[in-house]
């Protein structure tokens, strides 16, 4: 993480101040404003369409957070993260639909929250299983293993076996009102705004959790492994343990992402978790900035919003060229590919680096030397 300079005239007198989350009053008020914006202004101002975009951003942040943790902080490149999202989503769906919950649990609306938790744990363990080769291999070989995770999990196990459970064929349908949180009547998740609140709370918990983890001994060990795993081992870090822990946490967050996302889907099928989505998540962190939590958030917002804008730009043309509407998916793919290449070639530090530059410019103004 790059250091941020404090504004002129701010000093720390003890370590407690030095380690504080928000170090100045200005930052505290900024965070308060952010809180107000997220919880009140956005839901109040936006219609269903923009809320659904916000939900998509939240889902992307949750998914990309695990990828960021693995690639950006532990140096373990993964190209199969959608598999763990899929595991989370399917475990949660199966628990909600198929598990014989006692009536009390359903009445109290505990089934879904419990299923999220179990889904997250399962996804984490599944991720550890495919992280095991990281004990022996690294770099490109690990990429291949995680790719194998994607194909084995989504294209084989989920498509061929899990989808057959209950004889539904390919997709599990989740009719409105299946998912219920809490004992209250308004706890039934049936509108974008409720999904939005659930998403925002979980995203904040996960982001804060990961940032705190990175400030601890575990996070420092991960960064040491990323920078040079051999030196890290010489320093006395149990690299296998910490690598597997990174895989577990990444899978855990991925599982939460998948389990939350099912509330937004009317039906869940393997097509929701293609290999494209794994690569998309890696693209998000590359564009946002590798090794930065800010980068994950900026990257998610940037990618989702840019793709929506691209769609809006294409839509008016669709009247004259109806083929364009059909081809939009392909344009999106090509644009995404080109964007990754362009960012890696021209802005390898990502959006987070620009943000850091701007912030420091204002913090140090007017004596920046």
């Amino acid at each position: 993480m790059s250091t941020t300079f404090l504004p002129c005239g701010v000093y720390h007198e003890n370590y407690k101040q030095d380690h504080a989350w928000w170090q100045t009053k200005f930052i505290k008020s900024k965070m308060f404003l952010l809180f107000i914006t997220l919880f009140f202004i956005i839901p109040w101002m936006s219609d269903s369409y923009s809320l659904s975009i916000c939900n998509q951003i939240g889902y992307t942040i949750l998914g990309a957070l695990g990828v960021q943790l693995l690639i950006g902080f532990c140096g373990q490149v993964t190209l199969g993260h959608a598999a763990f999202l899929a595991v989370g989503a399917y475990v949660s769906t199966l628990l909600v639909l198929e598990f014989p919950w006692p009536a009390v649990f359903i009445e109290l609306g505990l089934a879904y929250p419990i299923s999220i938790f179990i889904a997250a744990i399962t996804a984490g363990l599944w991720s550890v299983l495919f992280g095991l080769p990281s004990a022996r291999v690294k770099g490109f070989y690990l990429i291949l293993t995680t790719m194998a995770a994607q194909f084995i999990t989504v294209d084989f196990i989920i498509t061929q076996y899990v989808s057959q459970i209950g004889g539904r064929g390919q997709a599990f349908s989740l009719p409105l009102g299946t998912i219920k949180v809490g004992p209250w009547a308004w706890g039934v998740i049936d509108s974008d705004i409720k999904i939005y609140y659930m998403m925002i709370v979980l995203t904040i918990i996960c982001v804060v959790g990961v940032v705190n983890l990175l400030r601890s001994r575990v996070g420092r060990a991960w960064v040491a492994i990323r920078d040079n795993d051999i030196s890290a081992e010489v320093m006395g870090i149990d690299i296998i343990k910490y690598k597997l822990l990174a895989f577990f946490v990444a899978g855990f967050i991925g599982g939460i992402a998948g389990a939350v996302w099912i509330s937004n889907l009317a039906a869940i099928s393997p097509e929701h978790f293609p290999w494209f989505w794994s690569l998309w998540l890696v693209g998000v962190i590359l564009i946002g900035g590798v090794g930065s939590i800010h980068g994950t958030i900026f990257g998610s917002i940037f990618m989702v919003v840019v793709m929506e804008l691209l769609q809006m730009a294409v839509m008016p043309l669709a009247d004259t060229y109806p083929k364009l509407l059909m081809d939009f998916l392909f344009i999106k793919e090509a644009a995404f590919g080109l964007a990754i290449c362009a960012f890696l070639i021209f802005e390898p530090n990502g959006l987070a680096y620009r943000w850091w530059q701007a912030k420091n410019y204002f913090n140090l103004w007017p004596f920046s030397y």
């Binding site: 690639i71 490149v77 190209l79 495919f130 095991l132 080769p133 022996r136 291999v137 770099g139 490109f140 070989y141 990429i143 291949l144 293993t145 790719m147 194998a148 995770a149 194909f151 084995i152 294209d155 084989f156 498509t159 061929q160 076996y161 057959q164 040079n228 051999i230 030196s231 010489v234 494209f276 690569l279 890696v282 693209g283 590359l286 590798v290 081809d327 998916l329 392909f330 344009i331 999106k332 793919e333 090509a334 644009a335 995404f336 590919g337 080109l338 964007a339 990754i340 290449c341 890696l344 070639i345 390898p348």
Partner: protein, 294 residues
Amino acid sequence: MELFLMTLTTGIMVGGIYALVALGWVLIYKCSGALNLAMGELTLIGAYVSLSFYSMGVPFLLALLISLVIGFILGILTERIFLDRLIGEPVLTVIMVTVGLSFFFKGIVELIWSTDTKAFQPPVFPLEPFRFGNIVVGQVYLWSFIAAIILLVIFVCFFKYTRWGLAMQATADDEMAALSIGISARFVYAAAWAIAFMAAGVGGTLLGNINGLNISVGYLGLLVLPAVVLGGLNSVPGAIVGGIAIGIMQNFCGAYLDQYFPGGVKEIAPFAFMAIFLLFKPHGLWGWERIERV
């Protein structure tokens, strides 16, 4: 027994095509150190180009030749525009640029040729199968295998006996030494990408002849990854052996294991095998094991 032999021959023949594509992959890695995940899309481009020319009435061999030329040009362009700027960057950057390229190419291919399955019409190879005693093999497979082997031999001869090929070998062996005796590394990188495009294009065309051509042929291009892992990332003979081995394994899984699973074993087996193989022998059969120092 007949089933066994037939599966084996088909496997070897499809494996020949994989070997050709894997050769292109290994070449890029050996010469420039770039780990290329866009191989599947390279096969698609070559295949669609030759298909378009073939359906315009150009004879098949000429269409193949045109796709080779276009592949050569595209390969050099790709290297110059994207990869040339990344020399000396971390491995992940280069890999992700190739991932970006794969999306870019895939999007373009889908835009131009759409996603429907297209077949070579009229069929290039006669439809009636070939018989050796009890073994029946489709002519498509046989001719594809022969074409792949001819091209493999041409490429290997190119490396052994021509000036360019020797320059590429030298760069792969020791870049510094090659530079000091006046070999242009940039030229070698461009040539490696051009040859990879050409090999992948021919591979794609042959695969397209077997089952018709659609986007999933690009997935077959991904199968080179298990092949090169098996053979060792920087070994040309390894790529050939790996390609054929993966072809055989895939067909055996299709023939014998499909009855025990609901389906999809054939597609997954190479990747599952790769994941397990990496645990035990990550450097492949003939790859170099690099000793790391801090």
